[in-house]
């Protein structure tokens, strides 16, 4: 019953997506398009979302009630699996995760339509242009919806066809194998996959903007600002998903680290890199009208990398190029990626005459040139990670040799590029647009450079002898100085204008210009993450030992004492655990219980390390083996990871900063009102600080003041 119900909803969603396409393209691209057609596309996106939500709900009911007549449940469910893990096993295998993908896509489509609802009301004849069809400014929205619908057609199509999770199993089995043991071993599994999916799928919206801009011939900066905002939202999800994935891997996999440059991890990192590049280069286009083609390329590439990542992790191609065609969706995905690539390139070629940039680089040292260097580094980073991920597949396809590219390769390329990017974060915000005089550069960076040198000297004095950690610490000091100076400048400017306390002025900065100052918060989070990586890498210590009852082992400030091995039968698994008393600097800090979990579906146990976290360092214990006869001894691997907690805290700071940056205010509300006149006024107002800033070398402080004052302006970019 649930099987056909769920399938019915998926088909309904497919129909909704088809209407989104047909009505959206007609409304935005055809001479006969009207507000009514646009409204049909809008309603279709709501319809598709409701249908997908219903399909998801049916699947969740089937999972939680263990209805094994539904094919997906029969493959990932089991009566013994606790309800929480049954519910989240939606994303534990291919078909379910495509369903989840599709639901989020429909959600983004509906949310986009909702934010534009006023604009689409066909209230008067002014929405129709003289040449027929919708007025110029109203064409983008239905076409964006249509592009989202097109992507929906592909994913809902997969669900109807080769990746149908709702197949009927008759007769229904009495029980199933349960989800992949690794995926039901820790509650964090409920956290990072949804984050990653929200991030991945969210990149569809900027992509849809790019394609709609090309189709309608509207390649001006006006919609770029909106596309950037959607990108920040998706980017924030992706960032927290990546950090959350690291956290999960740290808490579950038992090797003591958070990132191994595994293809699955790389797949999530690649679109993050290009999206980050876009977030910066978009500001160059907003300000200076340059890099139009480049920005379109980044938006499209990010989406392609999202598809590629999904393909890479879901088609089995990672294991071997030859596994690729064994999964039915492999070739389909490959075809869709190729199609998106060809159509995008074709559209960019077709519109090349409109993509010519009016502005050009004026000074070799300016904010835009620093952004261009930032972009080159990010794209170079993308290239090297992509190369390392794909190289084994290329070699296997050409020579038949099976090779892998070790983590040292990625570390080797990531360290210098990451470090250069970190330093740039301290340079970009302090540079003026267009050009900077030598005097100004000296003034902007003298404190920062001084503190960076001081920090490096301190690091050296504290015994750090490795180059990268010292440079990372110096870069962190440099970046934080720039950010502090930017905040100080902003607070001073606000107080000059409206008086009040410094705290009030600071709050005002976030409220009035969240985009800029939220960006600085994001940068702060990135600095924290970089420091955490560097510190944990420098001071990590590891020791392995076999202990009998009462025996102790020392590692760093910590000491552990083996107590016993125990076993416990749980409904879905058998747990063998060990108990250790842990001490730090001689004081007891509690009992740690690293465990091994045996799942019926798996031949090998899944280890659960015990982690004792503190703000300064983590004690990380993994049970390696134990005396199977009497439980007399246990072999344990103990790792001390300094500063690990700051990796997760940094990730949260990034998320908070991004939230501040996209929090709706001023211009956003005017836009959704959809009134062309108002919107035009608003963009004239936002252009104002730009023109003040462009007035010449002296315009820098004027630009800042204007961006701090302008009530409806979101301008002034970090």
């Amino acid at each position: 019953m649930l099987s056909s119900l769920g399938y019915g909803f998926v088909i309904a969603a497919l129909i909704g997506a088809a209407i989104m396409c047909a009505a959206g393209f007609r409304a935005g691209l055809s001479h006969s398009g009207t507000g009514v057609t646009a409204a049909v596309a809008r309603r279709a996106s709501y319809f598709a979302f409701f249908a997908m939500t219903a399909a998801m709900a049916v699947m969740e009911v089937a999972l939680v009630t263990h209805d094994f007549s539904v094919e997906y449940v029969s493959r990932v469910g089991s009566l013994e699996t606790p309800t929480y893990y049954s519910a989240i096993s939606l994303w534990s295998s291919l078909d379910g995760s495509i369903l989840f993908w599709g639901w989020i896509l429909a959600g983004y489509g509906a949310l986009f339509a909702l934010t534009r609802r006023r604009e689409w009301d066909a209230r008067s004849g002014t929405t129709v242009s003289r040449a027929g069809g919708l007025a110029e400014g109203l064409r983008m929205t239905p076409v964006v919806t249509a592009v989202i619908g097109t992507v929906g057609l592909f994913f809902f199509g997969l669900l109807v066809g080769p990746a149908n999770p709702f197949g009927l199993v008759d007769p229904a089995p009495v029980n199933g194998p349960g989800p992949n043991p690794l995926l039901q071993n820790h509650p964090l599994m409920g956290l990072h996959p949804p984050m990653l999916y929200f991030g991945f799928v969210g990149m569809t919206v900027p992509f849809a903007f790019a394609i709609a801009g090309l189709l309608t011939g509207n390649v001006e900066a006006r919609w770029l600002r909106d596309a950037r905002r959607w990108t920040i939202a998706a980017w924030a999800f992706l960032s927290m998903g990546i950090i959350g994935g690291g956290w999960w891997s740290y808490e579950v996999l038992g090797w003591g680290g958070a990132w191994a440059w595994d293809p699955v991890e790389n797949a999530s990192f690649l679109p993050w890199l290009t999206a980050t590049a876009f977030l910066h280069s978009a500001m160059v286009q907003e300000r200076r009208g340059m890099l139009k083609t480049w920005n379109l390329t980044l938006m499209i590439s990010t989406f392609l990398l999202v598809l590629f990542g999904t393909f890479l992790t879901r088609s089995g191609i990672i294991d071997s190029v030859h596994a690729f065609s064994e999964v039915a969706i492999g070739p389909l995905f490959f075809g869709f990626i190729a199609l998106v690539m060809i159509v995008s390139l074709g559209l960019i070629g077709w519109r090349s005459n409109r993509l010519h940039a009016p502005g050009q680089i004026e000074g070799a040292v300016s904010r835009e040139s620093a952004f261009i260097v930032n972009n080159l580094l990010l794209v170079g980073f993308t290239f090297t990670v992509l190369l390392g991920t794909m190289f084994p597949l290329i070699i296997e396809a050409i020579r038949g040799d099976r090779i892998s590219v070790g983590a040292p390769y990625f570390d080797m390329v990531a360290s210098p590029i990451g470090l250069a990017l970190l330093f740039l974060m301290g340079i970009d915000p302090a540079l003026p647009w267009r050009r900077a005089s030598g005097e100004k550069i000296r003034k902007a960076f003298q404190i920062g450079v001084g503190l960076a040198i001081l920090a490096a000297a301190l690091a050296f004095a504290f015994g750090i002898r490795r180059v990268y950690p010292i440079l990372t610490i110096a870069a962190a000091a440099f970046v934080m100085t720039t950010i502090a100076e930017e905040f100080a400048k902003g607070v001073r400017a606000r107080r000059r204008i409206s008086g009040g306390s410094a705290a009030r002025a600071l709050a005002d900065l976030f409220v009035r210009n969240g985009r800029r100052y939220g960006g600085y918060v994001v940068h702060t989070g990135v600095v924290v993450v970089a420091l955490a990586i560097s510190v944990s890498w420098t001071w990590k210590s590891e020791r392995e030992g076999t202990l009998h009852a009462g025996e102790r082992m020392t590692i760093g400030d910590y000491e552990i004492e083996f107590v016993e091995v125990w076993a416990r039968q749980e409904p879905q698994r058998l747990v063998v655990g060990s108990t250790f008393k842990a001490y730090r600097d001689g004081r007891p800090i509690g009992e740690e219980q690293p465990r091994m979990n045996f799942y019926p579906a798996s031949q090998q146990p899944v280890a659960t390390p015990a982690v004792n976290s503190s703000l300064t360092s983590d004690l990380y214990l993994t049970l390696m083996s134990f005396d199977q006869d009497e439980g007399a001894y246990a072999t344990v691997r103990a790792i001390v990871n300094p500063g690990m907690v700051w990796l997760w805290i940094g990730g949260m700071i990034v998320g908070i900063g991004a939230l501040i940056a996209i929090w709706p205010r001023g211009v956003g509300r005017v836009r959704t009102a959809g009134d062309e006149l108002l919107a035009a006024t608003a963009s004239a107002v936002t252009a104002l600080p730009a023109s003040v800033g462009d007035a010449g070398p002296a315009g820098d402080s004027g630009e800042l003041a204007a961006s701090v004052v302008a009530p409806v302006s979101e301008d002034g970019d970090p």
């Binding site: 070799a364 040139s369 260097v373 390392g388 090779i403």
Partner: protein
């Protein structure tokens, strides 16, 4: 204006070139060959000293693990081919006869594989238990007598 653009271009090319050089050098230094015991045998002597991931099964009865010295010795087989493996550090959880394993390290002139990392082969996707085994029983018997 022209001069600025040229300098920009030179700078960008330099950065791009550096990244490509870095990537190319890094790749050739960090390539790890994935081989089976048979392939490893066929590739001597030129494979001596290269980074290798060797995959196969643990030969039943070959495991010699000394918890006191943390020394692990065993044989990896695949059909008729056999390779001796030496490693320090505890074997992965529940390392057992007949298990599929991957070892990372180098193969030396002494015809012993010196492993730095022993991994149990595991797949991202679910694999049903093989016929004829009842895992629950296996695991219970494993810890029988355990406290």
């Amino acid at each position: 204006m022209k001069k600025n653009r040229i300098w920009m271009l030179v700078g960008l090319l330099a950065i791009g070139g550096a990244i490509v050089t870095l990537a190319a050098g890094g790749l050739s230094d960090n390539m790890v060959f994935f081989l089976t015991p048979t392939e490893l045998g066929a590739r001597t002597p030129e494979i001596y000293g290269s980074a290798i991931r060797l995959g196969g099964q643990v030969k039943p009865g070959s495991v010699d693990w000394d918890p006191e010295t943390s020394k692990l010795e065993f044989v990896i087989t695949e059909g008729d081919a056999e390779i001796d493996v030496e490693s320090t550090g505890a074997p992965p959880a529940m390392f057992a006869d007949g298990l599929g394993v991957v070892v990372e390290g180098t193969y030396g002139k002494d015809h012993v594989f010196h492993s730095t990392n022993v991994m149990v082969k595991h797949s991202n996707e679910y694999e049903p238990p093989h016929d004829g085994t009842d895992p629950k029983e296996t695991f219970k018997s494993l810890i029988q007598g355990g406290s």
